[in-house]
């Protein structure tokens, strides 16, 4: 036990990764193989996007990174003593229907034993960031689908985690809110140098946000190819540049090829 911990610590410090998946496979009890031979390293301070067809195992991979499920094959290596906390935004809002928005957002603080968590400045600022300050006292059923998703994002931000895992957080939002939250996300990531692993279906979103895009094959998912996006941050005018269009084309083509290999 202690030897593996020491080993994993040395391995990860050698590669600079905060989480590495090695030859990870996941077959569910139902017999569905979601992942097979997935190799993935998440480095400190990266903005990594997982891109792939529906059902290719992106959510499963994210859960394995979070430690919520164990792989059936391969290893997950985490450096010992890394404890900046993890924030997770599920694909569904996953709110407690019996609790107000403020109570939902303050949940991580409360579970960490913070007294009077609802009044915490972290909660107020997280709510302001997603534009829901006025709705602190509302209940989830009184919100639209997109608003619920924003509450879920605010909850993940409330603890200011070092590693933020987000599963298609903006899929249900309109273009304008989505752009604004994209920019917010980037600002947040840039300010505090946290690490973000992001899942999306959108090629455009992935190119705009990421420092690295991981294109996955169809189920059972593994890495098809990795594409680095070298444009410097902040990316204010990136969206209108020729470089952006070219990257989008590259990624689209890669995705198309990834979907045809098995």
């Amino acid at each position: 036990m202690s030897s593996t911990a020491a080993q994993s610590a040395s391995l990860s410090s050698a590669t600079g990764a905060i989480v590495s998946l090695r030859d990870v496979g996941k077959t569910f009890a139902s017999g569905v193989g979601a992942l097979s031979g997935l190799n993935l390293e998440i480095h400190d301070g990266e903005f990594v996007t997982l891109l792939g067809a529906s059902g290719c195992g992106k959510s499963t991979a994210l859960r394995i990174v979070a430690g919520l499920i164990e792989p059936t094959e391969g290893d997950v290596v985490r450096p010992a003593g890394r404890n900046g906390g993890i924030g997770f935004v599920f694909q569904d809002p996953t709110l407690m229907p019996w609790a107000s928005v403020a109570r939902n957002v303050s949940l991580p603080l409360k579970l960490a034993g913070r007294r009077d968590a609802q009044a915490d400045p972290g909660v107020t600022s997280a709510l302001a960031r997603v534009g829901l300050s006025e709705f602190a006292g509302s209940y989830p059923r009184e919100l639209s689908g997109g608003m619920k998703m924003r509450v879920s994002i605010a909850r993940a931000l409330a603890t200011e985690p070092k590693l933020l895992l987000m599963d298609e957080p903006f899929a249900a939002l309109d273009e304008i809110t989505r752009f604004r939250l994209n920019n917010d996300m980037l600002a947040l990531w840039h300010d505090v140098r946290r690490t973000i692993v992001f899942v999306t279906h959108s090629v455009f979103e992935s190119v705009y946000l990421s420092s690295r895009i991981i294109v996955m094959t169809a189920r059972p998912g593994r890495v098809f190819t990795e594409i680095k996006i070298d444009a410097p941050y902040p990316r204010g005018n990136f969206r209108t540049s020729a470089e952006y269009a070219a990257s989008c084309r590259t990624v689209s083509e890669a995705l198309e090829r990834a979907m045809t290999v098995s």
Partner: protein, 276 residues
């Protein structure tokens, strides 16, 4: 203008619907009582076979002191039974939820208690226990299982992602229970309590009737049995009336509690909210 029209039309239709919901049951009940009264009058049925509604009401007023004290006894038993069933049912469900071993070992007992008719257990309990305790035990036995079964169902139907979320943030077992599982199970628990409330009254009545022969009781059911022996049929009816009103009242109170507890968030209570 058009929209305004539609809103007023919607409103008036809603008001009508609400009125119908109150008026219709009252009319139906009134018609039943009237038919009963007519039957007694036209057929000249003697009161020791079927008393008229008026006579039952009169008896209710005349015998009020006796009936009232009996009602208090039965009501106290029913509520004590319900309270014990609530504590026992929820407590045991939580225990089951924490430990499979306990669940597998104790669940058969719970089922046996549930499936054995309480009428059959009551005489036995009356032998082993002093009468008030035996009556309470019967009320508890019948009320206990719905609370246990519903709470168990509620505790097991928590959103898996929420459980994951709590785990991710390092929640203790106690926090998962108190902040996640119990609130998520609340609608089920309250549903169980609503069933248990009526059953608890039934359990108390059954035990009192079974004890009736011994003649030491003082609850409403004992009054019914006693009036039966003495062929005091009007009083029997009066006590019966009081008993069903009590049952309805218990159900209404528990429904109100459910509504108040869930109205902000649960779908079952949202519909009422929108109309109100």
């Amino acid at each position: 203008m058009n929209a305004q029209d539609r809103i007023t039309r919607d409103e008036s239709r809603q008001r009508l619907e609400r009125a119908v919901r109150v008026v219709l049951p009252v009319l139906a009940l009134g018609a039943g009582v009237l038919a009963w009264d007519l039957l007694v009058r036209l057929r000249n049925i003697p009161p020791y076979i079927l008393p008229s509604p008026g006579l039952v009401f009169e008896t209710l007023l005349n015998d009020w002191p006796v009936l009232w004290s009996s009602l208090l006894v039965t009501l106290t038993t029913a509520f004590e039974g319900l309270a014990l069933a609530m504590m026992g049912g929820i407590g045991l469900a939580v225990l089951f939820n924490r430990s499979r071993l306990v669940e597998y070992s104790l669940y058969p007992y719970a089922v046996i208690l549930q499936v054995t008719p309480v009428v059959a257990i009551a005489p036995l309990l009356l032998i082993y226990l002093p009468q008030p305790l035996a009556v309470l035990a019967c009320a508890w036995i019948v009320a206990f299982f719905p609370v246990l079964a519903n709470t168990t169902l509620g505790l097991n139907s928590v959103d898996r992602n929420l459980v994951d979320l709590f785990r991710l943030y390092g929640a203790s077992g106690w926090q998962v229970l108190w902040d996640l599982k119990l609130p998520a199970a609340l609608p089920h628990i309250l549903g169980g309590l609503r069933i248990a409330g009526g059953l608890s009254l039934i359990g108390a009545v059954v035990a009192e009737i079974a004890a009736g022969a011994a003649g030491a009781g003082s609850g409403l059911a004992y009054r019914i049995a006693e009036s039966g022996y003495r062929l005091n049929i009007p009083r029997m009816f009066a006590a019966l009336l009081l008993l069903s009103v009590t049952g309805v009242a218990i159900f209404a109170v528990l429904s109100l509690v459910t509504h108040l507890a869930l109205r902000r968030w649960h779908e079952s209570a949202v519909g009422d909210e929108r109309e109100a």
